[in-house]
């Protein structure tokens, strides 16, 4: 989880310019209803990419398919040059993809420290795990103060911090964030996004799924706009922020 982790020594960066993740023609359907209608996007190593859209646009379905919580109806997902669209979900962590689920999903009856230790389930290098827990506490001093508290008794914002911290504990190369701002007080949302920026600055590759388009775009390098299951716009985040269509539809202007 040091600044260089996932950057130096990773074969992608060393030899080729192929993106870390390439999604092509991804389709997700529930029964006969298509939630995602063949979307194509990519994420380069080290960048933060936002996937924005209204409620029901297919953001979470996209992420569920990527994280293999549900089966895609079609399309391919290539990660580090390898097709991962048929891998079982638990294998993704070992490949270096960590998901922060929607609604946080912390282990409520475990303490903060125990939750973080669980995040390192796939690892067995104890001294490094201990160091990484300290690193997470450095990112979220608030968690450190409540180290021995049960996760279920934390506020929504603190649980979100914990969920992100726990995902970092697997030392991922790619972090998938599902609606990190959902249901949080504005001040807490600011805090969470500050941390996301810090993690990104350390070199982490991040896919950010968000309803809060402004914050998401301000935090990302590039963005994709999802509408009724299709990508209708894509650009650098900065340009999307100034795009009249985006401003009208998602920024409330």
């Amino acid at each position: 989880m040091s600044a260089s982790h996932g950057q130096k020594g990773s074969p992608v960066n060393a030899s080729s310019k192929e993106p870390l993740l390439i999604v092509e023609g991804l389709r997700v359907a529930y029964g006969g209803i298509q939630a995602v209608r063949g979307i194509t996007f990519h994420i380069d190593a080290g960048e933060t990419v936002a996937l924005i859209g209204a409620n029901g646009a297919g953001k979470t379905s996209t992420l569920r398919a990527l994280s293999r919580m549900l089966d895609a109806a079609g399309g391919s997902v290539r990660y580090l040059g390898k097709d991962i669209s048929r891998l079982p979900p638990h294998r993704l962590v070992r490949e270096g993809i960590a998901l922060v689920p929607e609604g946080r999903g912390v282990f409520p009856r475990l303490t903060i420290a125990e939750n973080l230790a669980m995040g390192a389930f796939t690892r067995d290098d104890k001294p490094k795990i201990a160091r990484d827990i300290e690193h997470v506490f450095g990112l979220f001093p608030r968690l450190k103060e409540r180290e021995k508290q049960l996760a279920g008794t934390l506020s929504g914002g603190e649980q979100q911090m914990l969920a992100i911290g726990r995902a970092l504990m697997s030392r991922p190369k790619l972090l998938l964030l599902d609606e990190p701002s959902m249901g949080l007080a504005p001040i807490m949302v600011q805090k969470i996004f500050e941390v996301i920026r810090t993690v990104a600055a350390e070199g982490m590759t991040i896919l950010l799924i968000e309803q809060n388009a402004k914050l998401a775009l301000e935090t990302s390098r590039r963005g994709y706009v999802l509408e009724s299951g299709e990508i209708t716009l894509t650009d650098e985040a900065e340009k999307l922020l100034h795009n009249p269509k985006v401003r009208e539809a998602y920024l409330g202007e």
Binding site: M69, R91, G105, M118, F121, T122, Q149, L150
Partner: protein, 353 residues
């Protein structure tokens, strides 16, 4: 300090051992019936610890656990009785019973992987009944289980020339059959306790804990939830299978009646009442729920005679009434169980704050 602690825990261990050794002889003074009750307490503790793996550790509500006990019992009954004329030794039957129960556990686990809570409870309940009804009806066209009459004259545990069913004299002491089984059961119970402790603090134990808390999050941190859940079912079931084998040998008789739904519920009650997921609590729950109803059986009639001069209420129904009331009271005042795990205590304390 640590030396002193070692001394203290050493003494404690010696004391527990002394009590465990003396217990069947003390109970024997009140008649062999009490030794048998003691044996059943240990057998149920064994079963409750097996179910604790599924319910307490992995958080999967299983209402058909008795089916695995039945599989173990019938395995012993069929492989060591005149019914088929097969008389295999115990060291062959117990593993076979454990493996068959394990297969039955995986059979139940596989189709129910996506179910949780109430839905899982209903399917497991159905499974338990299916197994019982099978035992009841597998007497035609080919007589396998002898139906509702059950199987009689089942071989006891025999090690070499040493028969567990008969009274013999060891070092000048008279040891009865039930007393011998007692020691066998204590040994088996120690084994299952050890396995439970090791499991709880292993990687698998942590994976179960994660699944119990939040299954999606468990997947997200890289746990193969399918395998880990199947493992919980299979391991819990194999302990049920071993217990069933000993039960058949001890009783010398099995019939489908012994494996009814109420038995599954009783074992679950032991786990919940004692303290789900907490090994000492589960043992306490099992011992209490086995011994107390029996003790009540002996107390109800004399108590009525002393109070009213005659027997007003049927002892059996009164016993169940008191028993039910006790369960309600415990759940009202100690919702986490009589001896809950530190985590559960912690959780309740935080909620109360």
């Amino acid at each position: 300090m640590s030396k002193w602690l070692n001394l203290r825990s050493g003494l404690g261990l010696a004391l527990v051992a002394a009590v465990l050794i003396a217990l069947p002889f003390v109970a024997g003074m009140g008649g062999q019936a009490w030794v048998r009750i003691l044996n059943f307490a240990i057998l149920y503790a064994f079963l409750a610890l097996g179910l604790n793996i599924v319910v307490g550790f992995a958080g999967l509500l299983d209402l058909g656990y008795i089916a695995f006990y039945a599989v173990g019992a019938y395995t012993w009954a069929l492989l060591a009785s005149p019914h088929f004329g097969i008389h295999l030794p115990f060291w062959a039957i117990l593993p076979i019973g454990a493996v068959l129960a394990c297969v039955a556990g995986a059979t139940l686990g596989a189709p129910t992987l996506k179910l949780r809570g109430d839905y899982l409870a209903i399917v497991t309940l159905g499974f338990g009944e299916i197994v019982r009804i099978f035992m009841n009806n597998l007497n035609a066209p080919i007589n396998i289980t002898n139906g509702a009459q059950g199987i009689t004259m089942i071989d006891p545990v025999v090690v070499g020339q040493f028969k567990f069913s008969a009274t013999s004299t060891i070092f000048g002491m008279t040891v009865t059959g039930p007393q011998k089984y007692y020691f066998l059961l204590v040994l088996l119970a120690l084994f299952v306790i050890l396995v439970n402790f090791r499991l709880q603090h292993s990687r698998i134990g942590r994976a179960w804990q994660a699944i119990r808390e939040d299954e999606i999050a468990a997947k997200a941190i890289g746990i193969n939830t399918r395998n880990v859940k199947l493992l919980a079912f299979a391991m819990g079931a194999s302990f049920g299978g071993i217990a069933g084998g000993i039960f058949a040998a001890m009783q010398g008789f099995v019939s489908p009646e012994s494996f009814s739904l109420i038995e599954s519920i009783m074992i679950l009650a032991m786990v919940v009442l004692g303290g789900m997921g907490h090994i000492p609590g589960v043992i306490l729950g099992a011992v209490l729920l086995t011994v107390l109803p029996e003790a009540l059986r002996y107390a109800v009639v004399p108590a009525q005679k002393a109070l009213f001069g005659e027997v007003l209420a049927d002892p059996e129904s009164l016993r169940m009434l008191i028993f039910g009331l006790a369960l309600i009271l415990v759940m009202r005042f100690r919702p986490a169980g009589l001896w809950p795990s530190p985590e559960r205590r912690r959780e309740l304390a935080e909620k109360a704050r």
